[in-house]
Amino acid sequence: MKRRKFIKSIAPAGIMVPSFVQGIGFKAFNTGHTFLNQVLLPTGDNNRVLVIVQLNGGNDGLNTVIPIDNYSQYVNARKNIFIDESKVLKLRGHDRVGLHPSMIGMQQLFNEDKLHIVQSVGYAQPNFSHFRATDIWMSASDSKQVLTSGWLGRFLDEAYPGFPAGYPNINMPDPLAIQIGSVASLTLQGPIQPMGMSISNPSSFYNLVNNREDAAPNTLAGMELSYIRETSRQAQKFSEVIKAANAKVIVQNLYPTGNTLADQLKIVARLIKGGLKTKIYIVNYGGFDTHANQVESGNNGSGTHARLLGNVSAAIKAFMDDLVYLGIDDRVLGMTFSEFGRRILSNASRGTDHGAAAPLFVFGTRVQGGISGSNPIIPTNVGVGDNIPFQYDFRSVYASILSNWLCVDDTLLNTVLLKNFQNLPLTKLGTCSVLKPVGDPENLLVLYPNPFYKSVAIQFKTIGGHTLLQILDGAGRLVKILYDKEVAEGTYRVDFNGEYLPPGIYYVRLQNQLIQQVKSILKV
């Protein structure tokens, strides 16, 4: 209600547009419309979706994308698990690289220019712990930096300011992001709260009752209580739209059975086709921690890893075929990731220990096919500690997708990813020709300059009553309370001197009665 009034009231006042356009920060290429028209489109034209496929446990990249040009070193390093050269799947136009024999579907996608392989993706000073490395990938942090928000959580927080207050609304009537399963991922964690919704069955939701609510006390217990209430509200709000979208799609293309990744991707295809405007989907497939018996004794082309890769390949191929069948393949881009690759040298248990960089896959009709990067170098006298160094920072992949697929502009990109990363040619040119839909345009916080070095001016709007303005660091710790009092309705400004702070991402958080809004700001 409030939002609609706001749009109506600002519509004739073209002068106000730049302020919130700046706040949203999306690219507009080749747009035939005026900015104002675009912004006021109820849903916008950009209906792109990103699907993240997480391969839990650390996928062995060297047995996934196999280096044919240094095959003898590869065999030497992996005497008990190497894949027979004759069985390696050939890739059209690339005779130096091949795929694991179980990845027939992905081979087909590659040959149709629907799959892009990025070689040796990782980061400096790789971490070998599952949970720390997963956090690094999900939060998009440096190796030694601890961030408690996820890269897509930060993106969604910028794109849909104020969430969850004021949502659903006409611009975004659906969940911002959906994680298939019962576990929430750090990837979707915003600076303050989770930006995604977890679902395991889109056709059945238990009906939650609206209870009377007493004010949550300002204690640790009250903090947890507020979180539970908010989760309950979201579950109620979004369960109906998900059920409806799920029910709309009756017929889908065939998916393999007994493949939990395929089961999840099938749900994703159905929800996209069913009309959800959800931007992000996350699915998971586990079991890649192959310390032992990753291949069958005497038959290196089969065993645990072959089964896992075969399922990944078949699931992604079926998903892509279904997207084409449903006529929505132009709207969907997918990427895989795993927390690390594995050691170059195999161990005595026909397995591999935790390693570093590894290839990842980007898939979709709008992908620019091919391979980025060269095969990893395998030393002739490979030692037990030798690892594959990274050619591409994983955040370059994120940056390329945010920039070229989700059409995020460069300023915002820097604040989401905290740094400037190289742009890779993963998608076809011109994919950002349409303006993104905007989120709730009621921008209550304006920060200038951003990035800042010494001081930043913070302008904020309050509806009156208790108004709290805080600075938080990238780990979510409170740095400073700038404002904490009862005020009259209006627009106010405070200057924050952050010269003493180490460079990095910070958040400005406004809390005004039931409203809260968070903006990231980069200290350089």
Partner: protein, 538 residues
């Protein structure tokens, strides 16, 4: 994200000197048991904090009878015909995969049973703590006898000595399978356990932790040569597979060099030296005390709490040679533990939620003599727990459940848009419908339960008692008044409306209309209360 603690607030490990009342006693039981039974509350309140801690920390309780054969082995290739139904399987070796799978399931059901039947003791909560700490997955262990041996060890030593736990877990057959120690040999060391013992079990990744990759590799070489003997359900050391070169550790471990050893005792000697080396760092005690803090109090460890609670606790831990009991006692009798700021601030784990509910509402379950029905119902509880993301025996991975380590959410990981509706659904169904197996219905008998409270005929007293007993945060007087009117007075304004109905129910239970009315009112009220977000807290 708000700093919810008041500015003047000073955490202290000083003994608790506040009022020993029902609220304090309930807080102690909520955090040390799964759910609070009224009889236990009365006991703890009556005997006081010191005597209650004596009971909670008593490690001389007899060990429970082991799990029994509750399954039909006909689907197996080689059925375990030597034991009959109702007898324990834990001493009967089998190699059949189906039988092992059925036994692992039997073990999980049995474990739920142990938690349901706990006495006033920390054993169950600490057994689960160690399962989360030395996390293993039963499906990867495979062999049910290894699994039960592993679990029995944690249970026996739940209140024992941390250093002893680490030493024994390192060569425990189940752990040797789970983290590939049995494959770790001199020709190609497997680093899996060597990494996790440092990162997850002993040193952690706190700011004072400084082990590096070379330490992981050196530790892996110390640990080469251990294997399992499946016939005897025990591990053994094979000197031929052991790396006999010296192992050099980093500055973090004072540049310790462990001299390579030969012979049948070589592995154990080197391992002993390595454990001594790990436990000589300050970090071990700090790390474990932080984990205990997250388990028993809250996950926000501010610099003040680190200074005033964790550091002295860790010091006591070292002074007591890593005995668990003195540290738990210090923590659980402290001012800080009972601080009102720390009450009600844990989001219940699925185990706390489900097992706690069945216990606190005195839900009746079949006796041991009806083992088929008993295991069938326990099995349903295992399923509920699994759906709520706490599959006991199979945590997500070696780092345990995210609720106990994953920043920034910690306990919040239990609650999302998928798991919250499931929690409510299971609670509702146990309150209102029940789950039936083998002709036995597992359901909350609200009317019988509230008879245990003082003055159930007084609607004010009843609503108040139920709220205080069930909710992690109390609700307002206006809210309670509404509950009384809506549920007990059926919209009327006079209290005697309920009192009369209750007294008629007590005197003439055969009056079916009235009995039904009373029972519906009580069930609806309980259902409302467990659906409140406040019930998710303890």
């Amino acid at each position: 994200m708000d700093n919810a603690r008041p500015l003047h607030w000073a955490p202290s490990l000083q003994p608790f000197r506040g009022q020993w009342d029902d609220t304090a006693a309930r807080h102690l039981l909520r955090r040390t048991q799964f759910g609070v039974k009224l009889a236990d509350l009365k006991n703890v309140k009556d005997i006081g904090l010191a005597a209650s801690l004596d009971n909670l920390l008593n490690d001389q309780l007899p060990q429970p009878l082991p799990p029994v054969k509750d399954y039909n082995p006909n689907s197996a290739v080689v059925p375990d015909v030597l034991i009959t139904g109702g007898q324990t399987w834990v001493n009967d070796p089998v190699t059949d995969g189906t039988i092992n799978s059925l036994r692992r399931a039997s073990f999980k059901k049995w474990w739920v049973g142990q938690m349901l039947n706990q006495q006033i003791s920390l054993r169950e909560k600490m057994t689960l703590f160690w399962h989360n700490h030395f996390a293993t997955e039963s499906v990867d262990i495979g062999n049910a006898q290894y699994l039960f041996k592993h679990h029995s060890f944690l249970r026996k030593n739940a209140l024992g000595n941390f250093k002893h736990l680490v030493r024994e877990i390192t060569t425990d057959p189940a752990m040797l399978v789970y983290l590939n120690g049995q494959n770790n040999n001199k020709s190609a060391p497997d680093e899996n356990y060597a990494r996790e013992i440092q990162e997850l079990f002993v040193i952690g990744k706190g700011k004072g932790s400084g082990f590096n990759e070379s330490d992981v590799k050196a530790a892996a070489r110390v640990l080469t040569g251990w294997r399992n003997n499946a016939a005897e359900i025990k591990s053994l050391f094979d000197p031929n597979r052991h790396d006999i070169n010296d192992k050099q550790f980093s500055e973090f471990y004072q540049n310790k060099k462990i001299v390579g050893r030969t012979g049948v005792d070589g592995g154990a000697i080197e391992l002993g030296e390595m454990i001594d080396m790990l436990f000589a760092t300050n970090e071990v005690a700090l790390y474990l005390c932080r984990r205990l803090y997250v388990w028993f109090i809250h996950y926000q460890i501010t610099p003040e709490i680190e200074e005033a609670i964790i550091v002295p606790l860790a010091q006591a831990f070292r002074q007591n040679n890593y005995e668990i009991k003195p540290v738990l006692r210090l923590l659980l009798e402290s001012e800080h533990f009972f601080d009102p700021m720390n009450r009600g601030c844990q989001i219940k784990s699925p185990v706390d939620m489900l097992i706690g509910m069945l216990r606190e509402m005195e839900v009746k379950l079949p006796s041991d003599s009806q083992y088929t029905t008993q295991y069938g119902l326990w099995n349903q509880l295992v399923n509920y727990l699994t759906n709520m993301q706490q599959n006991i025996g199979d945590p997500p991975d070696v780092s345990g459940w995210k609720a106990y380590y994953q920043e920034p959410g910690y306990y919040k990981f239990w609650i999302n848009t998928d798991t919250l509706p499931k929690r409510i659904q299971y609670l509702d169904s146990l309150v209102a419908i029940g789950y039936t197996f083998g002709g036995f219905k597992m359901v909350v008998d609200g009317v019988s339960w509230i008879k245990l409270f003082p003055n159930p005929e007084d609607p004010n007293s009843l609503v108040e008692a139920l709220c205080v007993h069930l909710l992690g945060i109390d609700i307002s007087a206006a809210h309670k008044a509404q509950l009384k009117t809506d549920f007990l007075l059926a919209g009327q304004s006079q209290d005697y409306y309920w009192t009369d109905a209750w007294e008629l129910f007590i005197s003439t239970p055969s009056n079916m209309a009235n009995t039904k009315h009373v029972s519906t009112a009580v069930t609806s009220l309980i259902k409302y209360l467990v659906d409140l977000p406040e019930y998710q807290l303890c």
